[in-house]
């Protein structure tokens, strides 16, 4: 499981007037129906710089959205999170542990070389390297999974055991297909260069300033726009102002208040996109800490008012969730219920009736959600006699203390987990054996890992008995407490561009239909 950080990046890029004159000319005058016009430039105000460009090793949501514009995965998710073909035009499952993918014949990298089965095989060998598997590898069965080429257009995966996460995982940004021939030959460094089969290719990049993408002439899914300019704009107010004055056409926001903040801008289409990602409170149960005692963790879980978090911190935009994100149709409801009396009793029993601990959270420019959730937790836990000290930290410091140090140098943190396109994928985060990033704060529990593995292997719908058992065990363990889903707001100038925005996203990809972005002609003449 990959962890999506609360985005990073620094510097405020004032959106330029890159194509302002051209766009004004394109919009034209007159009153009439809006129609999409092929070609032209669309400007996307991106909230954070993409700094982890090598897909298999990228664990930043702020990089995934850009990666998914440049590269393609074998499969992707539709608007209902069903797995549909992408680079693989079809697939067969001869047995529960075997998948055979047929590649599109028209898939060509942006420099003109056709995609081959070798690219797919070598891409996944990077993930499944027994010496150094990627963090993503456990979603597709780990190093015991083999991938082989049957012919130039056919690839076979063999898993050691059935996996309910396998297909969904292949749609993630980490699973996009790389031009391995060039990478293996040393002609391309995927950590600094991007070359894929996606709708756009990179024309230029100024760190922390902007990306300029142009249409990939070889794309099997050609975009409507000729250019996609992406100024990096971490500041929320800058993005709002830029949408207002037309210097950007489309932008995404983590702030649940974005619809309110954007309400005064005319000709703006605002979409609240539900995401499978969800906020969590992670308690550090490793080392000499009160949270090593499961009673203390359960008390915290019982003390938090998650409905109030949804209502106040998320402005009613998200949903209270369990281990299986509530955004998934048919998700397993959370078994956690607010019970202050039980919380007080558990704390007294554990000998911590007046517990005091610190929650650290990120200080991303303009991001208020982590702080708001932390303050609601403060209020809730104060009612059971627990004092929470909230500390906002710079992202680098937070990452070091929470995710890099072993044991983690923190009591607790509020962050969010990416749940991707498979309902059970996020479960991995509760097992340090399956999710190495969690080793600093998550207690090792072989029984829980076994339950998660069983849930992944069980046949059936979302709510299998095995999945339910795993979800309940995870919530009882309460090492990391699921809180609420994390919606994203996407807004675009409806008088300047046409856009297709998915109502439900599973891969931190607000621009999933980027190929449909196009300039708009308004008028009937």
């Amino acid at each position: 499981m990959l962890r999506a950080l609360l985005t990073g990046g620094a510097g405020i890029a004032v959106p330029g007037v890159l194509s302002g004159c051209a766009r004004r000319a394109e919009v034209g005058g007159g009153i009439g129906p809006a129609t999409a016009v092929p070609g032209g430039t669309v400007i996307w105000g991106k909230s954070a710089e993409a700094i982890a460009l090598d897909p298999p090793k990228s664990n930043l949501g702020s990089s995934w959205d850009l990666i998914q514009v440049i590269y393609d995965p074998l499969v992707e998710l539709d608007d209902n999170l069903n797995v549909v073909p992408a680079l693989a035009q079809s697939w067969q499952t001869p047995s529960p542990t075997e998948y055979v993918f047929s590649l599109r014949p028209d898939a060509v990298f942006s420099h003109g070389r056709p995609l081959t089965a070798d690219d797919v095989v070598e891409t996944f060998r990077r993930h499944l390297d027994p010496e150094n598997p990627t963090s993503f590898a456990s979603f597709i069965g780990g190093p015991s999974t083999t991938v082989s080429k049957l012919d130039d257009r056919t690839v076979r995966f063999r898993l050691a055991a059935p996996s309910r996460t396998f297909l969904s995982a292949l749609s993630a940004a980490s699973a996009v297909i790389l031009p391995m021939k060039e990478i293996d030959a040393g002609g391309l460094d995927p950590t600094t260069e991007m070359l894929g089969t996606g709708p756009f290719l990179v024309q230029s990049h100024e760190q922390d300033q902007r990306w300029v993408l142009v249409r990939n002439p070889h794309a099997w899914r050609s975009p409507a726009a000729d250019r996609l300019v992406i100024p990096i704009m971490p500041d929320v107010n800058s993005r709002i102002a830029a949408l207002g004055n037309g210097s950007i056409d489309i932008a995404d926001f983590d702030q649940p208040d974005a619809p309110l903040l954007l309400s005064s801008i005319p000709n703006l289409a605002v979409r609240v996109q539900q995401c499978t990602d969800f906020f969590v409170l992670t308690l550090n149960a490793c080392g000499a800490t009160p949270f090593a005692d499961p009673r203390v963790r359960q008390a915290i879980a019982c003390g938090i008012d998650r409905e109030k978090i949804r209502r106040v911190a998320l402005a009613d935009a998200g949903e209270v969730t369990g281990v299986v994100s509530a955004a998934f149709p048919g998700a397993i409801p959370s078994s956690l219920r607010r019970d202050p009396d039980r919380a007080r009793s558990l704390l007294a029993e554990a000998g911590h009736p007046n517990l005091r601990f610190e929650i650290i959270y990120g200080a991303t420019a303009g991001d208020t959600v982590g702080g708001a959730i932390t303050q609601i937790i403060q209020q809730s836990l104060a009612e059971i006699g627990v004092t929470v000290v909230a500390t906002q930290l710079e992202e680098g410091v937070l990452n070091q203390r929470a995710w890099v140090s072993v044991p983690a140098q923190m009591d607790a943190t509020v962050t969010y987990y990416a749940a991707f396109g498979g309902p059970l994928m996020a479960m991995r985060n509760w097992s340090p054996q399956l999710a190495p990033f969690a080793v600093g704060f998550q207690q090792k529990d072989p029984h829980l890992t076994e339950l998660i593995t069983q849930a992944w292997q069980a046949e059936g719908g979302v709510v299998t008995e095995a999945a339910r058992r795993a979800a309940e065990a995870i919530e009882q363990q309460a090492n990391t407490i699921p809180l609420v889903t994390k919606p994203v707001v996407v807004a675009y100038r409806s008088d300047r561009v046409t856009a297709k925005i998915s109502g439900l996203d599973g891969n931190v990809d607000p621009m999933r239909h980027v190929e449909a972005l196009s300039r708009t002609h308004v008028g009937g003449r």
């Binding site: 106040v312 402005a315 906002q392």
Partner: protein
Amino acid sequence: MTDSSTTGAPAAARPARSAPRSLRIPFRGDPLGWLGLLLLVLLVGVGILHPLLPLGDPLASVGPRVAGPSARFLLGTDELGRSLLPRVASAIGVTIVLSAIAVLVATVVGVAIGCCAAYASRRVDQLITRVTDVLFSFPTILIAVLVSVVLGPGRPAAIVAIVAVTLPTMIRVARAEALRIVELDFVTSAEVAGARLGWIVRRHLLPNMREAVIVQCTYSISLGMLVEGGISFLGLGVQAPDTSLGALVGAGRLYLTVAPSYLLIPGFVLGLAVLAFNLVGDSLRAQRREQ
């Protein structure tokens, strides 16, 4: 042993004692000074006594989110539905108290170093002067942010940041005053009479530096409030759920277009507090010049 208070030295100190007498009736004929003092008393009173006033709980989510001023919530509410009236009152106290504590520390340290510079060898004096020059060469907010990042966000970091920013000026003022005073006849007389350094500092230097230092304190507090506002605006100062005027301005910035009062009121109050301290400082300085 001879008690130095019975030597000629105390006689030389007498003129110094009369100097602060004018401060006993402050701001004579200076309405702006009175206005500043009035504002100061009002703001400090609200800031410190707000828990006793019927303003409401600054930490409780009791209303709708991001609402404008209304009969129920006079200054509106924030993004968590907390009434801004008690939060602004609490923020005034936090901002002023943090600045005052920091300036007190800076004053004690600055005066001590200033006196040392005046009395120590030329080399030590030059060293102190150069160090303060170096500190002056950095932008104020850069020093404050650096301190906050190194120490971690919170009140202690805010205090140290304000000390770091206000200390160089305080050292300069103290040193200049000390250098002026040590050249005066009554200090020379005391030295000739064999008075010890500690006695001279206590009886001559400090009383005669007092006015200049007090004036500088008022300016330092206003600068300190701006520094605290700056680092809290950036999220490096006072941490949630506590708040300060800078933190409120920072939080309200997001809602400028939909609830301008969220940003404007704390910003206005911060400006008012800075103005109050500056008016008092200006008035004290004018009095000092008249003397």
